[in-house]
Amino acid sequence: MMNLLFVCGLCVFFGVTLLQAVFAARASAAVRRFSLWAMLCANLLLLAFSLTIVLRNSTFYLNLYQISAAMRFSFSVDRLAAYFIMIISLVSATVCLYSLGYVEHHGSNTGKNFLLAMMSLFIVSMLLLVASDNTFSLLFFWEIMSITSFLMVMFDRDQADTRKSGLFYFVMTQMSTAFLMFGFIAIYHVSGSFDIAPVTGISETFKAFIFLSLFIGFGIKAGVMPFHKWLPYAHSASPSNISALMSGVMIKVAIYGLIRYLLFVLTPDRWWGVMILVFGTFSALLGVIYALKEHDIKKLLAYHSIENIGIILIGIGLYLIFQSYGFSDLATLALIGSLFHTLNHALFKSLLFLTTGSVVNATGTRNIEKMGGLIKVMPYTGILFLIGSVSIAALPPFNGFVSELMIFQAFLQSFIISNPFLKIILFLGLSLFALTSALAAACFVKAFGVIFLATPRSEEARKAKEVSWYMIAGPAIIAVLCILLGIFSFQLFSSLGFTLPITNMAFIGLALLVILGLVWLIMRLVGNRTTRRSETWGCGIISQHSNMEYTASGFSEPILTIFRPIYRTRKNVDRNFHDPGRSIFKDGIAEIHTFKLFEERIYLPVAHFIEKLSGVVSNLHDVDLDTYILYSFAAVVILIIAVGWFI
């Protein structure tokens, strides 16, 4: 039964890949629609599969195929894996539904077909990655995931910035693979097998090395702060349904890997927890702060992914710390919190990316300064985006709030830890975490307000139309899930066998509903219900104009001013003068750029160093015969001396 579900799902995916890839040149919109529906069904199959495992808390093993004895594609799905499979298939299903409407808008016929082929390969590689029970297949599908996503990022390859993003993404993703390979092979070196099984009897330092390389490897993919740089580029470059998949699911896969190796393979030390906590906190804070100043809506969302990954990491860090002190129920609270936040973020982030895709389609720009007033022309999309914003801003009773509540609870109860130093760290982390979520709320007031409210700021925005049915249905499902998961979280956990010290949101929801009813009733009774339409009050200016509105930059300006030290800006001014004495000013250009700290202090210097080095090395080759012979001569002489010396 389970086998059937699993294998059928996979077969459909591979079938779709083949179909789309082989007929890439010819396949028509009908074929595409067919394959999308097929993918949707396959996702549902796997959803059913994973849900049964999650609910029954059983495990599932399947040795699908093996290249050689050492290199098996064998899968074992336990509750954790099934949970992530659930996330993947759920989000992918909705994305497929959305894509039914979306894909037809972009690119050449071949391009679309190829995109679908890659998309299905991408989804299936993520599923199998999570299901893998040995390092080999994990690495295998990890690479395939990276490559397919890279190809999809390159989808509209004619834009220059897409190319830049693509290169950036490719290099970073290869780097993460390299680090993972190092870690895995190091594990193999001690355990002597590719199985994902507890490693024992290794020295502390060696274990630390393994942990660090794995953390970097997964961290790059998850977009943890110092390694996050690829994320905004890649997400803004790729088509929106792909961004939804990447940001909603792919970076979660990295989280899965981290959790898997921390829980089931390595035996963590306390400082790992602290380290992860610190990294998480900074990713969260800086992520949201960078998001505040973004006006490219997709970059903004990408930075929020970084923030939420940070929150998830905070949860994991807390888990490790509490575990190391033996407060197992608090640890469980933190871990479940971060896992639940993983699900929630997957949901509302894909919801946001999908709706953003619709908006970008409708307006033809990613710059929110050019939008505005869209809720009147595309109300459904607007409402969906609002739900997404409310959940990502962690407002009760939505799902985002519940997971953050759990992490807050874990934080607040950290007073039972004895070590005062650690306690102070935790309280600082707590305050920064609070700051993060407040800023997130601010950021989404800005995003929603500027995109959907007030009057249109550009012709495109004025002419925008509501998108097709598919592109509303897909997000709508997620939106409903966001609410349900929020309200019935308590019942959910108890049905899974976790009784956690959190508020019963169903109760709160009920209370809110009752109060709403009462208030509404009262207002009906006592309130005057006549309304009148009129102008916005503009100090007596008769015609309200869109460029009198508050802009996104204006909105975030006070916060930016307060956090000025974090965004350093660089001005470059070049002036032209009429006279040689440079006194009579003709014209000039003045620009202010935000100083991209990580890019300009870490990434580019390293890249430049390597470039310089390789330049030197390759210059050695561009010479004539004499020099070549000289090289060999020197080499031979050195060899002769070395032989005489050593042997």
Binding site: I144, Q174, V617, S618, Y628, S632
Partner: protein, 486 residues
């Protein structure tokens, strides 16, 4: 058995000398002969693989057929067959674009077939000195093949090749003489036969063996393109017609590695082997580092591919140096994988070169519009060569690295970084190339089927061995490793 090779080979060459009047026909005629030649050799080798019990010796033990040599010969024959097919269309293009004179064709194909003959016997020969001679012959022949094109740079490239390779080879004669003296001193009668060396290895003095080994290694390294004797390689590969670049990169380099492998097998029987391992791994890592760094600023597609060949040779050297059975197993597999992938890359590059008459990336505009197949070949080949899953290089890379981890983790880390740089180099260039388009639309020329077919076949083959490991291959490789005494 081996006579069959000689006779058929010489017969083919006899046919070549027959003059034909019309030039167009001549190209196809010669090419047909070449195809027949390589086909016959392939069949013969398959027979040799199945019928003849390995090892068996011929000509007073100067020649032998054993598992390893048959394996290498098979690879070479397959590559030769594919490139003969490819050459059919390609040479026509060359003639058409005036890059090669019709009168050169005889010379070209003569050298081509002779090269096949020589290579096969280089693999089959049992005697080191004889092996050395054939190795020199391959240098000469490939030099001739390079200079058949109408360009001064080709002569320069060929000269560089000849000088760099053969000066190094002279030192390996010195090594041979020392080895010979060593065996004579050890057992009374000197010998340079592989099999006898294997038997007598125990009696040789490790110090002197290492001494001899280093000198012999210099020559083989030059042929295999190991830093610092690799200098000839990039230009030779870049200037040669793509068919020949394929042979240089996918077949000739293997011979050098093959020699090193044999020698290492002998060394493994002495106590000198860990010194030798050290030397090999040292040179291998150096090679990989230099190659990886030189790939970043390349703008020339064929040079890029050539440098990646250097890098892979270094990797093979490292694998040999590890000297564990698994490592060698995967080294052999990697040889196959590398040969196939390289062939595909150079074929695609050849098509593109015919389109743009340049190997520079920035000249290649609207690649997808003009030459979709070649573009895909280039992309897929690059992915395969940087070791992406679905492709065989990934398997061998992973496994050799795993073996390397037991030798030294830091070295492995260095290699990972180098591979990262290589990947970046490929990605950077492809990403820069693929999207660029030009206002002046070129006409896509008609790529004949004989040029497209090999690429498709190779793609299928690569993916096949990338995900499916036939038991036969597995047993064969295991057999080779065991026959080498590991």
């Amino acid at each position: 058995m081996l006579w069959a090779y000689v006779i058929s080979g010489l017969g083919i060459m006899g046919f070549m000398l027959m003059r034909f009047s019309r030039s167009e026909k001549r190209a196809d005629y010669l090419n047909t002969l070449a195809i027949i030649h390589s086909a016959i050799y392939l069949i013969l080798s398959v027979i040799a693989l199945i019928k003849i019990q390995q090892p068996s010796y011929f000509f007073s033990r100067y020649l032998m057929i054993d598992r390893l040599s048959v394996y290498e010969v098979l690879i070479s024959c397959v590559i030769f067959l594919l490139s003969s097919f490819y050459a059919r269309g390609y040479v026509r293009r060359l003639v058409h674009s005036g890059e090669i004179e019709v009168r050169e064709l005889t010379l070209f194909y003569a050298a081509y077939n002779l090269l096949l003959l020589v290579i096969v016997f280089a693999f089959y020969c049992n005697n080191l000195a004889f092996f050395w001679i054939l190795l020199e012959l391959t240098t000469i022949l490939s030099a001739v093949l390079i200079v058949t094109l109408n360009a001064k740079e080709n002569i320069v490239a060929a000269l560089k090749y000849v000088f760099t390779a053969s000066t190094a080879m002279l030192f390996s004669i010195i090594g041979l003489i020392i080895l010979f003296a060593l065996t004579r001193h050890a057992t009374g009668t000197g010998t340079l036969n592989w099999d006898t060396l294997m038997q007598q290895a125990g009696t040789l003095s490790p110090r002197l063996f290492t001494f001899a080994f280093i000198f012999i290694f210099i020559g083989f390294a030059a042929k295999a393109g190991i830093v610092p004797f690799h200098t000839w390689l990039p230009q030779a590969h870049a200037k040669a017609p793509s068919v020949i670049s394929v042979l240089l990169s996918a077949v000739l380099l293997n011979i050098g590695i093959y020699g090193v492998l044999r020698l290492y097998a002998v060394a493994h029987k002495t106590t000198a082997w860990h010194t030798v391992s050290l030397i090999l791994i040292g040179f291998g890592v150096l090679t990989i580092i230099i190659a990886a760094l030189s790939m970043l600023p390349r703008g020339n597609v064929k040079k890029l591919i050539a440098f990646s060949s250097i890098e892979h040779m270094g990797f093979l050297l490292v694998g040999i140096g590890l000297g564990t059975p698994l490592a060698l197993f995967w080294v052999l597999f990697h040889t196959l994988a590398h040969a196939l992938v390289k062939t595909q890359l150079f074929f695609s590059a050849g098509i593109l070169h015919q389109q743009y008459h340049s190997n520079q990336f920035e000249d290649m505009k609207d690649v997808f519009a003009l030459q979709p197949l070649a573009a895909w070949g280039l992309i897929i080949g690059s992915m395969a060569i940087i070791g992406v899953p679905l492709f065989p290089v990934f398997l061998s890379k992973l496994n050799i690295l795993t073996q390397l981890a037991d030798y030294s983790l830091p070295v492995m880390f260095v290699l990972l970084v180098c591979f990262l740089i290589v990947a970046a180099a490929f990605a950077a260039i492809l990403i820069r190339t693929i999207p660029q388009s030009s206002e002046s639309k070129l006409e896509p020329y008609h790529v004949s089927l004989s040029m497209q077919l090999p690429i498709v076949i190779l793609f299928a083959g690569i993916v096949l061995i990338g995900v499916y490991f036939p038991a036969g291959l597995h047993d064969m490789l295991m057999g080779i490793v065991r026959s080498l005494g590991f």
